[in-house]
Symmetry: C2
Subunit: 142 residues, 2 copies
């Protein structure tokens, strides 16, 4: 196998740096505005968007791609801050967003939208938006 | 602030999923072929590419964007596997790749190149490679 050419390496490094930079900048904006971490926001929005406010803990873990022990520790911290509650549900555990959690999600959504625009979408020429979304979708779906 | 439109959301989700999928698939190929984790490979290649085999531990931490305690634990594990060695260097610590570490890097480089091609570059039409690299570079550099 040949090693990457200069042009290929340039693409790869730009891809990695852009991926990491966008992730970190969006997370930072949400954290500064609301105090929610990346993990908090990801969990609260999944509960609302996928479960209408409640999901089984193992479904939530699968959706995040997290190990259950990592999720369990995270949920304990979120319970202590009254963002979610946990309760038994036929053999498993169901995680429910609290009223306070919903207030945080409502406050964070416009911050998230603005951050995604400023840190990512504004860089993409509108004529290329659909074409690049298709390309990214093919990569993600394989 | 308006929430994201359907087209904007589609772009954002495709971006996030593609970023995470490429990172995970490249790391998996390297791990399967060589046993090196993502962190092992990132550290060994930085030592070779940035330091000609050796870097101060705080420079390495800065290059990775890691906290020093995380790096210290990682380096302890890599020392135990004889991939790197650590020693004092005027007031700090210098990390040096071992001969065995170099063998691993040499084995991993072509696997990495092939993985980056299969999981990322092959999806990008050659005529768009430069244009998208420029776009990603602008996002990364801000």
């Amino acid at each position: 196998v040949d090693l990457l050419t200069e042009d290929e390496l340039r693409f790869w490094h730009a891809w990695k740096q852009a991926s990491e930079a966008v992730r970190a900048r969006v997370a930072e904006d949400i954290s500064l505005a609301t105090g929610l971490s990346d993990a908090d926001f990801g969990i609260l929005t999944r509960l609302v968007d996928l479960g209408d406010g409640a999901l089984r803990q193992n479904e939530l873990a699968a959706s995040l791609g997290w190990h259950r022990s990592r999720l369990s520790h995270q949920l304990t911290r979120m319970e202590q801050r009254d963002l979610v509650s946990r309760g038994p549900a036929d053999g498993g555990v169901v995680v429910t967003i609290t009223d306070r959690g919903r207030e945080y999600v409502d406050a964070a959504r416009p911050v998230h939208a603005a951050a995604v625009r400023v840190h990512l979408l504004d860089y993409v020429p509108p004529r290329q938006l659909g074409e690049i979304a298709d390309l990214l979708g093919r990569i993600a779906d394989r």
